[in-house]
């Protein structure tokens, strides 16, 4: 592998290694060549979990990395508003289902006409903190929180006042009422190892996962099906991944147990 003249790109370094005795050779050779400078300039894209592992396990791993900034509540609000507008919901208000407080800032066109007496909700602040500013995680929880109707009390109040905006409002459950998935008690070491391996590789096929963990096929299938039934795993295109909704709980669990976690 020599420099062919122009800059090169490796979009997903996490696909170039396995946490297996034979799985580090390729990455190690690549970093060795990189060290010599013969490869010229290039760009490496890598999942944050894989990067955390490779940085510690493979000598020569570039020490610095650039990361996209986490979405704090203002950026997250803007992004969610952008998504809604992209779906053709330019005139929609997002209000909290129990109080009517505005969850996202209203569209600029409606800013003057919107009833703001219920105030602003702190939903997105909680969402940004809980999701660690990761858009995919935040979006998954956001979708679960959306409702087409407000709480009965609020609906009755709005009807009585004659100020119901039912037609142009999407209702969002209060943060405290959202069911945030948690890990079940009696979670075994094997379950933890499976989740950790999936995060370190940004998803793996079931047979590779069994190979990486040295699990017997029968035992591995048992663990996978238990995790799938508990809603912790998603199976997309024959690749198992940790589901977005449970990710914060899994990360917290792994961190608490002393396992390697990403740094972002």
């Amino acid at each position: 592998m020599e420099n062919a003249g122009g800059p090169w790109v490796i979009p997903a370094l996490e696909r170039c290694y396995l946490r297996h005795p034979h799985g580090l050779t390729l990455v190690r050779r690549f970093f060795d060549r990189l060290d010599t400078g013969r490869l010229g300039e290039g760009l490496i894209g890598c999942d944050s979990w894989a990067w955390a592992y490779l940085r510690r396990a493979v000598r020569g791993c570039p020490p610095r990395a650039l990361v996209a900034q986490a979405l704090e509540h203002e950026r997250l609000s803007a992004w969610l508003r952008q998504l809604a507008e992209g779906d053709g919901l330019q005139q929609v208000l997002f209000r909290q289902s129990d109080s009517g407080a505005l969850v996202l800032p209203p569209p600029a066109a409606l800013a003057d006409a919107v009833d703001t007496t219920a105030g602003e909700s702190d939903f997105v602040t909680h969402l940004a903190a809980h999701s660690r500013g990761i858009p995919g995680i935040a979006w998954s929880l956001w979708r679960d929180a959306l409702r087409s109707c407000p709480d009965e009390d609020l609906a009755a109040e709005k009807d009585a006042e004659g100020t119901c905006e039912m037609g142009q409002a999407v209702w969002v459950l209060p943060w405290g009422e959202i069911e945030k998935p948690a890990l079940a008690a009696g979670f075994g070491v094997e379950h933890t190892l499976v989740l950790h391996a999936l995060l370190l590789h940004d998803g793996l096929a079931a047979d590779l996962l069994a190979e990486v963990l040295s699990l017997a096929t029968g035992a591995a299938l048992g663990v996978f099906s238990e995790l799938r039934e508990a809603g912790l795993l998603e199976d997309r295109q024959d690749t198992l991944r940790v589901s977005a909704a449970i990710y914060p709980a899994v990360r917290q669990h792994l961190n608490g147990e002393g396992y390697l976690t990403d740094e972002f």
Partner: protein, 212 residues
């Protein structure tokens, strides 16, 4: 507590003393002195353990969750009392160790109130082989074990020692959780053996004299 039995025994002893010796002041002093001496010998170790128990409070040779070895008993500290410490071994057996061992026995504490507990997997190979290749392979076996503690960057080391009957490799690394140490050693051993067999290496068999 069998109070009635104790009272009967005390009354009987008092009657026997009255019958057998003249209860003068001098005789009673002698008698109580002898009884005190006997009790002192009987409770010597108990008292020593109680004092050692106090010493453990500030010296802290072991704490809850530590993995200790005392006179061949190795296990996790589950309870520390005034007189003794209770450990649970890997065979799920509770061993009660009096604190007085502190005075004159070696107490091995494998993790000393931390999560860092070094484990070792041993491999014995026929001496004719590429030691550098084996060392690299075993190092990667350690690095890729799912039980390995990576977060705190504890080292993975391979120690090589030549023996008269072969080469002894010791793969040393730290598991994430000290309670997983036996799983970790098993994982290192199973994966290490598989990796060495893939390299076509021959394992050493100790001569009968050495094995004995």
């Amino acid at each position: 507590v069998p109070v009635v039995r104790l009272l009967v025994i005390a009354a009987a002893a008092w009657l026997i003393v009255q019958q057998s010796i003249d209860p003068t002041f001098e005789n009673l002093i002698t008698l109580f002195g002898a009884v005190g001496l006997a009790l002192g010998f009987a409770f010597k170790d108990y008292t020593s353990s109680l004092i050692a128990g106090i010493v453990t409070l500030y010296e802290m040779p072991y704490r809850l969750g530590d993995w200790i070895s005392v006179e061949g008993a190795y296990g996790e500290v589950k309870a520390i009392g005034m007189r003794a410490v209770e450990i649970v071994t890997a065979d799920d057996t509770v061993v009660v160790i009096p604190h007085l061992k502190l005075w004159d026995k070696l107490i091995f504490n494998a993790n000393d109130n931390s999560r860092n507990l070094q484990c070792t997997a041993d491999f014995y190979l026929h001496p004719r082989h590429d030691a550098a290749l084996v060392r690299r392979t075993l190092h990667d076996v350690g690095l890729t074990s799912p039980y390995l503690q990576v977060q705190n960057q504890k080292p993975v080391a391979v120690v090589v020692q030549e023996k008269p009957w072969g080469t002894h490799y010791r793969l040393k690394a730290y598991p994430v959780d000290p309670r997983d140490q036996f799983r970790f050693i098993t994982d290192l051993t199973v994966r290490g053996k598989a990796a060495l067999l893939e390299l076509g290496l021959e394992f050493a068999v100790a001569p009968a004299a050495v094995a004995a």
